[in-house]
């Protein structure tokens, strides 16, 4: 049940806002906003998107394409997607956007796969990397 409504502007109130997780840890900034249609026919914000995969297209032009291209190349997934925070994780929107979960429970924020990629493709290829300490 909804109790109150007013108007806000997406560019001012959502984009580039700091996101903090349940434990008050700064986690990311909002780089884009995803929307979808609900059964009532209206379009609603469905998720906040973070990271270079969301920010690059906003930058636009050649720099934006470079940002996305470098991010996609470094990402361990073949067809990566930006970090997606469903609105059901958002508990309040003000000067910062607060989540009701710790950040490592948000899909796409785990860095161990990226660490694995660096280990395999860069660290292990350094001379002496395979020697015992």
């Amino acid at each position: 049940m909804n109790s109150r409504s007013d108007f806000v502007d997406a560019g001012f109130a959502l984009l580039d806002r700091q996101i903090i997780d349940r434990d008050e840890r700064p986690f990311a900034k909002v780089d884009d906003v995803e929307y979808g249609t609900r059964p009532d026919g209206g379009d609603y914000v469905t998720a906040l998107l973070c990271g270079p995969g969301a920010w690059g297209p906003r930058v636009g032009g050649r720099p934006g394409r470079w940002i996305v291209s470098i991010w996609a190349r470094l990402h361990p997934d073949v067809d990566p997607e930006p970090v997606r925070i469903p609105m059901s994780y958002v508990v309040s929107v003000g000067n910062a956007i607060k989540l009701n979960v710790p950040f490592d429970e948000v899909d796409g924020t785990r860095t161990d796969r990226l660490d694995d990629w660096f280990d395999v493709h860069i660290i292990n290829r350094l001379p002496g990397a395979r020697h015992e300490p």
């Binding site: 049940m1 909804n2 109790s3 109150r4 409504s5 007013d6 108007f7 806000v8 502007d9 997406a10 560019g11 001012f12 109130a13 959502l14 984009l15 884009d32 906003v33 995803e34 929307y35 979808g36 209206g42 379009d43 609603y44 914000v45 469905t46 998720a47 998107l49 995969g53 969301a54 297209p57 906003r58 636009g60 996305v68 996609a72 067809d79 997607e81 609105m87 059901s88 994780y89 958002v90 508990v91 309040s92 929107v93 009701n100």
Partner: protein
């Protein structure tokens, strides 16, 4: 990137909007949302897309020059307020895609100006 991914609001920013008569009325600088607070404190608000703000006044809104006029750098305040008078609110349900541009089914004279 996944071509079937859900649409993103950033796709709207900067696109030219034409009215029902085909006249260019400006570019999208802001997207207005209706914030619907939930009745329980553990649930965040819903944001329903209501309108596009078209024209350079939308940029003043986006930079916060109209919501906090006392903090607006003095050369920009008067210019921002003047630009805001020229901006138009284009209802979301009247907007259609038209290639790289957007078009509204309403005439320019039917579009409301922006309430600061």
């Amino acid at each position: 990137m996944n071509p079937d991914a859900a649409p993103r609001l950033s796709r709207m920013f900067g696109r030219q909007v034409r009215d029902a008569d085909g006249r260019a009325i400006g570019r999208v600088h802001e997207v207005r949302l209706r914030r619907i607070e939930a009745s329980t404190p553990l649930t965040g608000p819903d944001f329903k897309i209501e309108a596009l703000i078209v024209g350079s006044g939308g940029l003043a809104l986006r930079l916060g020059f109209t919501s906090t006029p006392a903090r607006t750098p003095w050369p920009f305040g008067a210019r921002a307020r003047a630009a805001l008078r020229e901006a138009r609110v284009v209802p979301w349900d009247s907007v259609r895609e038209s290639g790289e541009e957007l078009e509204t089914t309403l005439a320019l004279s039917d579009l409301e100006t922006v309430e600061p």
